[in-house]
Structure formats: structure tokens, C-alpha cells
């Protein structure tokens, strides 16, 4: 058993890497996308600049908003912070606070965060935000279901709902990785990740109002609160992406021990480059789906996850 100090170091490294490095990956993604599109693009540190700038600015709040509008961003960020303790986003074995909840708990926390975000943005009373919320809600009933099913599926494959056990089980043997149910569930979760982080083919990020899904929620926020929410969504993207990488797509190569933890940060960086590359390729090859087709997209991912569940239960 590792000593308490080692555990503490590992914890600090995982959480700070998740919180501090997450904007970096967004920056790299934007830069690479710009490069592929033939633009020079902003610096890869641009998300940091944005956050710092926004944190310094004053907050404007509409008259009819309640306290929820002001405090929800902090709570949402706190939830993401909590999740970064729970799942293997950098370090491959349990750290402090990990035993608080299991995989399903993680999924529920994600749902809680998105629910809070929805409810607080409606508080602003803006018509456009209301439109955005109804839009998000008409998709989210699929995506949340898929998220939970995916975590169920993983739990059933290994017989426990601890993500760390899944990670170990997958790295034991290649045949575990190539199991049919795992492959299906990976595809399903990848599709979900594309939706949750607003990538093509579901959403074209940017300021075009017609195709906005997630950004429409932040429309009435400004200043510090906006900065926190943006940072929160970078963290969310990092968390989901790292789960995708570590538990589903590419579970190998992670080191243990305090030094290993430092090394893991670098390894995660490389893995993320891979994921960014994949999503850039998708971004440049696929066209955006029509808005109501996003449901179909999510339905497919939902069905794949359920199908994987059936295979796990019936064939094993």
C-alpha cells in the first residue's frame, strides 16, 4: 500500500492536471483545426487568455434573475472538480475521495451539473436562452440515457461499477479490449462524447446562432461567471474525453507511483493529441447534421449501448 504522502501527491497531480490543463487541450484543438482549414488561428493558449480576461470583468445580471443565476456556475464548477477525484482521468489507481461514489455516481453527477446549468440559464428570462434550453432538452433525454447505459454496460462487463477495475481488466489482456460488447460500447460512448463536447457532426461551435446547442445556454452570462462556466465546460470535456481514452479507447501505458503520476500527465497529453487528431479528422470530413437529425445520431448511439448490454448479459 502506498503511503499517505504518495497518495496525496498523486491526488494533487490528477486534480490539478484536470483543472489546469483542460483549457490547453481546447486550445490545441482549435489551433490544429485552424491549421487544417488553412488558417493561422489563435494561439493555443487562447482559452487561458479568454478565461483570465473574463475573470477580471464585471458581471451583469438581469433584473429578474434569482440567486440561482449567480451561484450555479460555482456549484457546477465544484461538481466537475469533485468528479475529477472520482474517475481515472490521469492516474490509473484510486486516489483520495475516490471511494465516495462509483461509476454510476459519476454519471449522475454529470447529469446534476448539466441540470443546474439548464435551470440557472433559464433564470435569465431571455427568449433566446429559453429556445436553447428547449433545444438541449430535446437532445439530452437521449444523451443522459446513453451516458448511464454506457456506465451500466461497463459495470456489467467487469461485474463491478468501479472504473478503476475496468481499467485494470482491459489492460490485462488484448482479448478483453477486443470483446464485442466493449467495442460497441466504445463506439457508442465516442458518439456521445462528440455530442457532449459540441463537435461535428452534431454541432458546429462558434457564434452562429442557428446551430448552437450548448453555447446558447451561456448567452446571458458575462464576466466572471461566464469565465467560470467556460472553464467548467473545458473541464467537462477533459473529464469525458479522458474517461473515453482511459476506460474505452486506449487504456494502456499509464504508470503508477508518485513519479509515475507526473509521467502520466505527459502520457495523457500524448493520448489527448491522438483524440484531438481523430476529432479534427471528423471535423474536416463530415458535414453538420441538420438539427433534428441530432436526435437520430443520439438514438443510434443509445441503441448501440443497449445492444452491447444485451450481448453482455446474454452471451457474456
Amino acid at each position: 500500500m502506498a503511503s499517505d504522502e504518495a497518495l496525496l501527491i498523486e491526488t494533487i497531480i490528477q486534480v490539478s492536471a484536470a483543472i489546469l490543463l483542460s483549457p490547453l487541450y481546447q486550445g490545441i484543438y482549435e489551433k490544429l483545426k485552424a491549421f487544417v482549414e488553412g488558417r493561422r488561428g489563435p494561439s493555443f493558449l487562447q482559452p487561458y487568455y479568454d478565461i483570465f480576461k473574463l475573470l477580471k470583468k464585471e458581471v451583469v445580471v438581469t433584473e429578474n434573475s434569482s440567486f440561482l443565476f449567480i451561484y450555479a456556475p460555482y456549484v457546477v464548477f465544484g461538481i466537475y472538480l469533485l468528479i475529477s477525484f472520482l474517475i481515472p482521468v490521469v492516474y490509473p489507481s484510486p486516489i483520495y475521495l475516490t471511494p465516495t461514489v462509483d461509476f454510476l455516481g459519476g454519471a449522475l453527477l454529470f447529469s446534476l451539473a448539466s441540470f443546474l446549468k439548464l435551470i440557472s440559464s433559464v433564470e435569465s428570462g431571455s427568449n433566446f436562452v429559453a429556445l436553447g434550453v428547449s433545444r438541449v432538452l430535446s437532445f439530452i433525454f437521449f444523451s443522459e440515457a446513453t451516458l448511464i447505459t454506457v456506465f451500466f454496460g461497463v459495470a456489467l462487463i467487469t461485474g463491478t461499477n468501479n472504473p478503476y477495475v475496468t481499467l485494470q481488466y482491459l489492460t490485462q489482456d488484448v482479448s478483453h479490449y477486443l470483446q464485442l460488447d466493449h467495442v460497441l460500447i466504445t463506439i457508442s460512448f465516442f458518439m456521445l462524447w462528440l455530442f457532449e463536447t459540441g463537435k461535428l457532426p452534431t454541432e458546429s461551435p462558434g457564434l452562429s446562432e442557428m446551430g448552437m446547442i450548448d453555447d446558447a445556454l451561456l448567452y446571458e452570462y458575462s464576466g466572471k461567471l461566464l469565465g467560470i462556466l467556460k472553464w467548467g465546460s473545458y473541464v467537462k470535456q477533459y473529464l469525458l474525453g479522458s474517461v473515453l481514452l482511459n476506460v474505452f479507447l486506449f487504456p494502456w501505458l499509464l504508470q503508477t507511483g508518485p513519479l509515475g503520476a507526473l509521467l502520466d500527465v505527459f502520457i495523457m497529453f500524448l493520448k489527448w493529441l491522438l483524440l484531438i487528431l481523430i476529432s479534427v479528422i471528423i471535423n474536416t470530413t463530415l458535414a453538420k447534421l441538420r438539427l433534428f437529425k441530432v436526435q437520430d445520431f443520439l438514438a443510434v448511439s443509445f441503441i448501440l449501448s443497449i445492444f452491447s448490454l444485451i450481448i453482455t448479459v446474454l452471451i457474456g
Binding site: L180, D296, A299, V300, F302, I306, I311, L314, I315
Partner: protein, 212 residues
């Protein structure tokens, strides 16, 4: 020895092809998907034939690929003659898929726990549990017939049902040739008639006179 994982993979792709057909509004890709589905079943038969060194399976595979993937596909296209790029107006792929899911999810679990789990099928290739795929495919076909109104989609649903039985046969016990071939020819006959009907009538709706 038979590699069960490979069988699983092929069977699962068969189901995925069925899901694809369910989500497809255009006829042309659906017909191609049907051909691929049959080809996948024949691949399964070939594989079992070589793994168990049984010539029966190999010949069965050849028959399937010729009759199902080529001839039936040809006749289906003939029925669509001069109507390329034609599609059926579907009522929401997402909802259809989810209802489909609920339907076959329930049906398969009921079948598994109340029927298959009790009768104890055993097969040479150890593929008894895999027969569940054939039932899933069967319900897919049934569901396709129920949800669609066009002749083409409905006949593809019927072919899916037939495919599910062939799959069931391949996974449990291959029945004698003479019968197998006649079954295929029967289905072919139905498809030919369908292609004649498709030329006349492409969509099916409720009719006042055929009620009650």
C-alpha cells in the same frame, strides 16, 4: 475448433445491418444492406464449414450468396425500375429506433429466460447461445414490416425474417439440401411476385373497404 468470438462478431454485424435498414428511408441503400446481410450469413456458414470441415455448410453458403445476395437483389431493383433515388417518408427515425429497441429488447429477454434457457439446445459448434441473434433478427424483420408502408421495405422485412431462420438453421443444425434449396426458391418466387406488385403499387395505406 470454432472461434466463438468471430461468430459473435459476424452475428452482431448482421444485427447492425438490420438496424441500418430500419433507419434507412431510401430504398437503394436498404436493398444493398439486405444483400450484405445475406452475404454475412453465408460468411458465417463458410466459416463453420471450414472450422468443422463439413461440406454441407459450404454449399449452403454458396447457395445463400447466389440466391439471396445477387438474384433477390436483382429482382428488388427491377421492381424499382425507372424510379431511382426514391424514398419513403418515415416518421422520425429516432422514435422508430427506440420503439424497435424496446420491442426486441423485451422480446429477446422473454425468449431467453422463458424459452431458450429452459429447452437446452446443444450444438456441435457450441453456438446455442448465439441463436439469440437469429431471434433478434426475426423481431427486426417483423418490426420493419409493421412500421413501414412501402412494398420494398416490407418485403425486405420478410427477407430479414427468412434470413433469421437461415441463421438459426446455420447455428443449430443445417437441414437437408433439397428442402433448403426449395425454401430459397420459394422466397425467390415471392420476391419476383413482389417486384411485379411494386411496379403497380409502391405504398400501402389503410383502405376503407378493407376494414372490419
Amino acid at each position: 475448433m470454432v472461434n466463438t468470438q468471430l461468430l459473435e462478431l459476424i452475428s452482431a454485424s448482421i444485427i447492425v445491418s438490420a438496424l441500418y435498414i430500419q433507419g434507412q428511408a431510401y430504398f437503394k441503400p436498404a436493398i444493398y444492406a439486405q444483400a450484405i446481410q445475406s452475404a454475412l450469413i453465408s460468411v458465417l456458414a463458410f466459416y463453420l464449414g471450414f472450422a468443422l470441415s463439413l461440406i454441407d455448410y459450404v454449399i449452403l453458403g454458396i447457395i445463400i450468396v447466389v440466391l439471396r445476395s445477387f438474384i433477390i437483389t436483382y429482382f428488388l431493383f427491377r421492381g424499382l425500375k425507372a424510379k431511382p433515388g426514391i424514398r419513403e417518408s418515415t416518421r422520425g427515425v429516432a422514435s422508430e429506433l427506440v420503439v424497435n429497441l424496446a420491442f426486441f429488447f423485451l422480446a429477446v429477454f422473454i425468449l431467453y429466460y422463458f424459452v431458450l434457457g429452459r429447452i437446452g439446445l446443444t450444438t456441435e459448434a457450441g453456438t446455442a447461445t448465439l441463436t439469440i441473434f437469429s431471434f433478434i433478427l426475426f423481431f427486426q424483420g417483423l418490426f420493419l414490416i409493421v412500421t413501414r408502408r412501402s412494398t420494398v421495405a416490407q418485403i425486405i422485412g420478410f427477407i430479414e425474417e427468412e434470413n433469421s431462420i437461415v441463421l438459426f438453421g446455420v447455428l443449430t443444425v443445417p437441414i437437408p439440401f433439397l428442402i433448403e434449396v426449395s425454401i430459397f426458391l420459394d422466397v425467390l418466387g415471392l420476391v419476383v411476385i413482389t417486384s411485379l406488385l411494386t411496379l403497380q403499387k409502391l405504398e400501402h395505406t389503410r383502405l376503407e373497404e378493407l376494414m372490419g
